[in-house]
């Protein structure tokens, strides 16, 4: 289970070119929660994830994972607790076989090779691609690649799973498979996405970012039915909550 809460306090970040990407953001994510982070392009979602993971460091404020503050010195601890799946799976898969890619993390923590093997098999089983274990990652389809990338993070048994645009570029079936996986995964999750229907199905809580600031931080249904708020933030009400174009009915949700 997940034990660590993530606290983001008065976070502030500017890129070297002066662009202010994150302006004074604060929130806390509690163990076991699924949180969607949504916002228009350039609203600061990816930067925020980079700050949480310690790829970037804030100018002001801090990120705390459990009782550890994210700094250069604590990166090893932080990264053991948090697992991040990148938007582009190709960035994450660079070994010659799926096995080696999924084993990359566990091996870096010097686990026994038998334990590595067990973890790899478990992770591939979880994402539903145990048959691809010996294939070369660059020969997989988009959906398979995404699954392999997720497995490469799950094999490290992180307390928190962080995903950047997990459904982008997936066909409907692969997307559905991913959503089902996310629904069944009960550790802490942080998901950034433009796919609001997916967020609606997988997250309990949504944080809306607008120009680097938090515009809303409430229960999912509350946020995603607030057309005015979404419109202001460059988003729109998820399709599944919109009126049916044929009969004019609204789908009953949950």
């Amino acid at each position: 289970m997940s034990y660590h809460e993530i606290e983001v306090r008065n976070l502030h970040f500017s890129y070297p070119d002066g662009h202010e990407a994150i302006k004074d953001i604060s929130f806390t994510i509690y163990p076991g929660e699924s949180v969607g982070i949504v916002g228009a392009n350039g609203s600061g979602k990816s930067t925020l994830l980079s700050l949480i993971m310690g790829i970037l460091f804030p100018d002001k404020g801090e990120v705390r994972v459990g009782d550890v503050i994210v700094t250069k010195k604590t990166l090893a601890t932080i990264r053991k607790r948090l697992g991040m799946v990148f938007q582009d799976s190709d960035d994450q898969l660079f070994m010659t076989t799926v096995f080696d890619d999924v084993a990359f993390g566990p091996r870096n923590y010097n686990l026994d090779e038998n334990e590595v093997k067990i973890r790899v098999e478990e992770a591939l089983e979880k994402v539903g691609i145990p048959h691809l274990i010996d294939r070369a990652p660059f020969k997989l389809s988009g959906g398979e690649k995404r699954a392999a990338a997720i497995a490469s993070v799950l094999s490290m048994k992180p307390d928190v799973l962080i995903m950047d645009e997990p459904t982008s570029g997936l066909d409907p079936k692969s997307r559905r498979r991913l959503i089902n996986f996310l629904k069944g995964y009960n550790h802490t999750k942080i998901i950034t996405s433009h796919d609001l229907d997916m967020v609606l199905e997988t997250c309990d809580r949504v944080i809306v970012l607008k120009d680097g600031e938090v515009a809303a931080d409430e229960a999912t249904l509350e946020v995603l039915t607030n057309g005015e708020l979404l419109d202001k933030c460059g988003l729109e009400v998820p399709l599944s909550l919109q009126k049916c174009p044929v009969c004019g009915m609204v789908k009953q949700h949950r």
């Binding site: 990264r79 990148f86 960035d91 990359f104």
Partner: protein, 258 residues
């Protein structure tokens, strides 16, 4: 355009071959690496007028290609890719040295043999395992990492290039290749994009606990088979170095014909 995309697959061909399961593939990487090193040293140690003495050394890559069931043509093609470079080095020899043609031939043979041996090593072992073997032999990790990441990032570079060329070609259907005046910004773009991409790949490695050490396979033990493999080949190489086997065989046949 398709040629560029093809070359991505070509680069990975050696990786694919390395995953085969033959008696040669199963040998310990360290033994294959050491044997190749002995081979390289012995071949390079011949003086520059030597040709006949080098001939028995063709035996080594040939036997390995056969035993490891490697496809001959793709390996041979890769050998040809290096040849222009070698020709560039040796082409002027015949002009300045009265026996230049012999030294030129000697350079060609030596380069052919050494490059072939390396290709065979990579396609029977795989770069990951070679790296592991280098680490076992106490080569500093910074060099090993350099080698591995260079190999990995070549494909990143080619993929980016393929994407850019495709985008260019689709909007410039009437011309062949990239116009000279666009080449500058093209090369610059490619460099910047590759930096970006490499940074993301590196980030994803760091996030999974990468700390400069590459752990890629379970450390198997060296067995007597592996030791025998090194000794047998080394004996052959040294014998072929000390005795001119083709000349010896020639002499033998001459005697027999009397």
């Amino acid at each position: 355009m398709s040629k560029i995309v093809d070359s991505i697959y070509n680069i990975r061909l050696l990786d694919d071959l390395a995953r085969k399961d033959t008696s040669i593939h199963r040998l310990h990487p360290v033994s294959k690496l050491l044997t190749t090193i002995v081979y390289l040293i012995v071949v390079v140690s011949f003086n520059r007028y030597e040709i006949s003495g080098l001939l028995p050394f063709v035996f080594y890559p040939m036997v390995l290609i056969l035993l490891a069931e490697l496809p001959v043509m793709p390996i041979f093609k890769r050998l040809l890719m290096v040849e222009p470079l070698i020709i560039g080095i040796g082409i002027l020899n015949p002009l300045f040295d009265p026996r230049g043609r012999i030294t030129f031939a000697s350079i060609m043979i030596k380069s052919g043999l050494t490059v072939m041996a390396c290709l065979v090593l990579v396609s029977t072992t795989g770069l990951d395992k070679i790296a592991q073997a280098l680490r076992t032999l106490k080569v500093p990790s910074i060099f090993v990492l350099q080698l591995l990441l260079t190999f990995r990032y070549i494909s990143v570079l080619i993929e980016e290039l393929a994407r850019m060329v495709r985008a260019y070609a689709l909007r410039a259907p009437q011309q062949k290749g990239v116009r000279l005046k666009d080449c500058g910004s093209f090369a610059g773009q490619l460099l910047l994009r590759t930096f970006d991409r490499a940074q993301r790949v590196y980030d994803s490695m760091k996030l999974r606990g990468f700390n400069g050490e590459y752990h890629s396979y379970s450390k198997s033990k060296i067995t007597w088979k592996d030791i025998l493999y090194i000794i047998a080949w080394s004996l052959f190489f040294i014998t072929a170095r000390v005795y001119d086997i083709p000349a010896f065989l020639g002499l033998l046949f001459e005697r027999m014909s009397y």
